[in-house]
């Protein structure tokens, strides 16, 4: 647009310039045609001619006897008339620029005055006058001649200047004319291009319009166009297919009278009115919306709708793009139902498992408890074996139930971690120590290699890592017949966390690569292919991996068939820089010796009676309560040495009951309270601790565990075993958990036999001469004693190896034997006393 104006402006400017220049031309042309100065030159030549004529006439008169005065006067007058011509009018202007010419003219004027004075005398001219006039005339002739030449020169110059000016102007006009023509040609080309472009645009527009109309016709979406009155003015093929009306039927009909469902019609009408009056869109230009529409058959169905408005021929029209989504809706509904069904089924499964495991555990509690009690009664060998088989089967059943519950809890997201500060080294070492007995039994080596950089404390759920490691190392021993098991602990240290990697490598048969994932699946997914037990049969690996992932870690396996397997547990753990030094409330110490009266608060009658039997067997006085409220009431009245409190109970749960007992100054405000909870309810641990419980046990409560707990109560801390204790019962308990009562007892028996033999051999040695041999032997015995947690034995052996005096040495050996005997009794009573 601007370009076009610029071109028009330039052309107009050039035209005006050309007109201005051209308008000057006629004047100059006239000047050239008129050529006023030309005549002046002619006049000057005439002057010269007349001077010549006068000169001749005077010369003749000089020689004539009677000269004709009047003829001479006439001739002189004519000459003088010519002189006038160069001194007046345009003739004079010619000489203005030339000093030489002005000088000559001055002399001519002098001649005029002199000659006029001569010839204007009265009477005839005398001879003398004629001679004088002749001399005057002749003297001026060269000047006249010069003037004629000057006239020609000056005239020519003036003419030339005029011609040059004219030529310049002509040239200017010509140049401008060329520029103008060029400009006009350019403008024409530009206009031509505009025209071409406009034409192509026009074509494109027409093509677009054609395409648009064919698009509307061929669109897969239904397209309905209506005018302001709501009358259908366009209805494409797809719309016919969706609604069932033909084009002819519906064109001109109101939308509200056809495919808008009855119950939407008033809203539709008022919406149209509002939009047209206020321009406030509700549905229009709102993007995709879902509505329902009516088919010709009267069936209402869901549609997806997109309405836009536009101007057509000055009137507003509405374009609706419509898609029949009834099928999609049905599919969506089906999907939702399927999902809900699946979720319901899954939930039902979880619930079933939870309920089942609970339901199974309660009677198991009774069975195992009674079996424990049965062992304490006098039985013959056969009966002992039967009890043992029943107890072992019950334990397996309990393990399976526990694992199933673990899985369920992990899958339903109920299981939570209880992170705390712990020593990874100690955890790994303890698990390895506990399981070494199993390895030894199979003749396998069990090596632990912990990177020194892993010695520090970490923040994490140590008991879960313990659980995983027990599973991994236990499996490795179980499925290896020759060679050994290596546990390697290393870590990649980040700024704050360490990616802990624990590799458990065995030299067993290995696992085929296609089973790498299968072994981590729940036992229900695997079929037993041979008689032999396979990895993955239980839920251990599945649970381990799930726990590892719960800790943001993972558990993986790498194996070559026939060349052993390596399980790698990797878990990111926060490092703890400083020693854990949180001040804990002063623990309430209770010695099993001083426990006399025990209050049992438990709603399940069977469990209560089993527990009562166990405790009375230990020689305690037992009071019972079957719910929290009753327990609280009883605790208000009497002082007890120990309260065993179930956590979930009707009326008042154990946590609330504990809180009440701890509040105020009741007789039991300082009594040791032991919490009891169902397996897998670890989340109650912190709650119960806050409420004021001192210990925590998981049901079913076994006799050995109860005994351990009662004896451990004196130092309410797992690791805080007193030096004076003959045995560290929790070490034996760990062993018992891993190996079972029977094997633990066998291991212990084997050690005591070894020790007796070793002490005998040591007694033969001289501490003064055979210190090295003694040291080696003592070291070996000490390791075994440590494994069983026999600290008093260890201490006695230590003393023996450091004594040089023979009688003191022998006394120390004797002391070791005494301690060992005491420990043997303690272990035997801790485990099932009748067993072994």
């Amino acid at each position: 647009m601007i370009k076009r104006f610029a071109i028009y402006g330039a052309i107009s400017g050039l035209t005006i310039l050309l007109i201005l220049l051209w308008s000057g031309l006629p004047g100059q042309l006239r000047a050239i045609l008129i050529a006023e100065t030309d005549d002046t030159q002619w006049t000057v030549f005439q002057l010269e001619t007349e001077f010549a004529n006068l000169s001749v006439a005077l010369a003749q008169a000089e020689n004539a006897p009677a000269p004709d005065s009047s003829a001479l006067r006439f001739r002189t007058d004519i000459t003088l008339s010519r002189v006038n011509l160069v001194t007046k009018g345009l003739g004079r202007d010619l000489w203005v620029e030339s000093p030489e010419a002005r000088e000559i003219i001055a002399r001519l004027e002098g001649f005029t005055r002199a000659s006029t004075a001569l010839i204007d005398k009265l009477g005839d001219l005398s001879k003398q006058d004629i001679v004088r006039l002749s001399a005057l005339t002749n003297s001026l002739r060269p000047d006249v001649r010069r003037l004629a030449i000057l006239g020609v020169t000056l005239g020519t110059e003036a003419k030339e200047a005029e011609r040059v000016a004219f030529a310049n102007q002509l040239r200017g006009v010509g140049f401008l004319a060329i520029v103008l023509i060029a400009g006009i040609v350019g403008a024409l080309l530009f206009l031509d291009r505009l025209l071409v472009r406009a034409r192509s645009k026009d074509d494109a527009l027409r093509a677009t319009a054609d395409r648009l109309s064919s698009t509307v016709t061929a669109s897969l979406d239904g397209i309905v166009i209506s005018n302001q009155a709501g009358e259908v003015i366009e209805f494409n093929e797809a719309a016919v297919g969706i609604f069932g009306w033909s084009r002819v039927e519906i064109l001109g009909q109101k939308m509200s009278a056809t495919f808008v469902p009855q119950h939407h019609r008033s809203a539709h009408e008022s919406g149209m009115e509002r939009y047209l009056s206020t321009g406030d869109p509700h549905v229009i230009d709102a993007g995709r919306i879902e509505l329902s529409a009516l088919r010709k058959s009267g069936e209402e169905f869901p549609i997806e709708l997109n309405i836009t408005s536009t101007q057509r021929d000055g009137e507003k029209v509405f374009i609706a793009y419509i898609r029949d989504i009834s099928e999609r809706k049905i599919n969506e509904q089906k999907l939702v139902e399927a999902r809900d069904r699946a979720e319901r089924a899954d939930k039902a499964k979880s619930q079933f498992l939870t309920v089942m495991s609970h339901e199974m555990r309660t009677p198991l509690n009774g069975i195992l408890g009674v079996l424990d009690l049965l062992k304490t009664t006098p039985l013959d060998k056969k009966q002992q074996r039967f009890v043992q088989v029943a107890a072992a089967s019950g334990e397996i059943l309990l393990e399976n139930v526990n694992e199933a519950l673990d899985i369920t809890r992990i899958e339903s997201g109920v299981m939570s971690l209880s992170p705390d500060e712990f020593s990874l080294r100690a955890t790994v070492q303890r698990v390895a120590d506990v399981l070494r007995t199993l390895a030894d039994e199979k003749g396998l080596s069990l090596e632990v290699d912990i990177d020194t950089s892993m010695n520090g404390s970490f923040f994490g759920d140590g008991s879960r890592i313990n659980q995983i490691l027990t599973n991994l190392i236990g499996n490795a021993i179980k499925f290896t017949d020759e060679g050994g098991v290596t546990v390697a602990v290393e870590g990649i240290h980040g700024p704050e966390t360490t990616l802990v990697r624990i590799k458990v490598r065995d030299t067993g048969n290995g696992i085929p690569a296609d089973k790498f994932e299968a072994i981590f699946e729940d036992f229900v997914a695997l079929a037993r292919s041979e008689g032999r037990q396979n990895r993955g049969d239980g839920l251990g690996l599945s649970i381990s991996r799930k726990i590892a992932r719960l800790m943001d870690g993972d558990l993986k396996v790498d194996s070559h068939n026939g060349d052993g397997s390596t399980f790698t547990l990797s878990v990111p753990l926060l490092r703890v820089a400083t020693e854990f030094s949180e001040t804990q409330p002063e623990a309430r110490h209770v010695s099993s010796e001083i426990i006399k009266s025990v209050l049992i608060v438990e709603d399940n009658a069977i469990n209560r009676s089993v527990l009562r039997e166990m405790l009375t067997g230990f020689g305690h006085a037992v009071t019972e309560a079957d719910n929290g409220l009753e327990g609280f009431k009883k605790a208000q009245g009497t002082k007890f040495d120990l309260i065993i409190m179930d956590i979930s109970m009707p009326f008042m749960d154990g946590i609330e009951a504990t809180r009440r007992i701890r509040q105020g100054n009741g007789p039991n405000a300082q009594t040791y309270i032991l919490g009891l909870t169902a397996h897998g309810r670890e989340e109650y641990r912190s709650k119960s601790k806050t409420a004021g419980m001192d210990g925590f046990c998981t049901k079913p409560l076994r006799l050995s565990e109860l005994k351990l707990t009662l004896s451990g109560i004196r130092e309410n801390d797992r690791s805080g075993t007193s030096l004076e204790d003959p045995i560290a019962l929790e070490v034996i308990d760990d062993l018992r958990k891993a190996l079972g009562d029977t094997k633990t007892q066998q291991t212990a028996n084997r050690f005591f036999a070894e020790l007796k033999e070793g002490l005998g051999a040591l007694a033969q040695k001289s501490p003064t001469t055979e210190a090295t041999v003694i040291s080696e032997m003592v070291h070996k015995l000490r390791g075994s004693a440590g494994l069983l947690g026999l600290q008093s034995v260890e201490n006695a052996l230590d003393r023996a190896s450091s004594i040089e005096k023979t009688e003191d040495y022998l006394a120390a050996l004797k002391q070791a034997q005494t301690e060992a005997d005491a420990a043997a009794v303690a272990i035997k009573s801790f485990l099932s006393p009748s067993d072994g």
Binding site: R30, L33, I34, A35, E36, D38, D39, T40, T43, Q46, T49, E50, N53, S70, R73, F74, D77, I78, L80, S81, N84, L85, K88, G89, L90, G91, R92, I119, D120, K121, L122
Partner: protein, 157 residues
């Protein structure tokens, strides 16, 4: 008035006897047949007079001319032909096609600014055009036809 005219006559007689005026001079008009007729100042003054004011390239400022138009003189003489050959006292002559002679112009001027013209100042008879009135009178041709000291008009067939 009376005195001044008497004085001027006396003065002209006493102080400028050499100034040749119109008396004694006349314009002779000759026809193609050879016959001729003389037009004296008196004769010319009796013919219809035409006068105008104009500048010329030979004089200074605007001057007033009066006299008889050429066409009137030719009418009076009664000759017809194609060309008028105009001659001056110094034998200068130029041809004037009869067809180009205007009805009013040129005139044979007998007076400039009301006075007769001496030979010494292009007189006594001067063929003039009203140069200021029309550019066509300011052409070379017009200037060439402006014959002064006119003495003879020869009509050629």
């Amino acid at each position: 008035m009376k005195y001044s005219s008497i004085f001027s006559v006396v003065a002209s007689l006493v102080f400028s006897p050499g100034v040749v005026l119109a008396e004694g001079h006349s314009v002779s008009v000759q026809g193609p047949d050879g016959s001729s007729r003389k037009f004296s100042l008196e004769t010319l003054d009796n013919l219809p007079q035409t006068s105008f004011e104009t500048s010329t390239i030979w004089t200074d400022g605007v001057v007033a001319f009066s006299g008889v138009s050429l066409s009137a003189i030719l009418d009076e003489a009664g000759f017809s032909g194609a060309i008028v050959r105009m001659s001056a006292l110094n034998d200068y002559s130029v041809d004037f096609p009869m067809a180009e002679i205007g009805k009013d112009y040129p005139i044979v001027a007998t007076r400039m600014n009301g006075t007769e013209m001496p030979v010494r100042d292009k007189g006594p008879y001067w063929m003039v055009f009203p140069y200021d009135a029309d550019p066509s009178y300011r052409t070379k041709t017009a200037y060439a036809r402006s014959v002064w000291q006119l003495s003879k008009l020869l009509v050629i067939k």
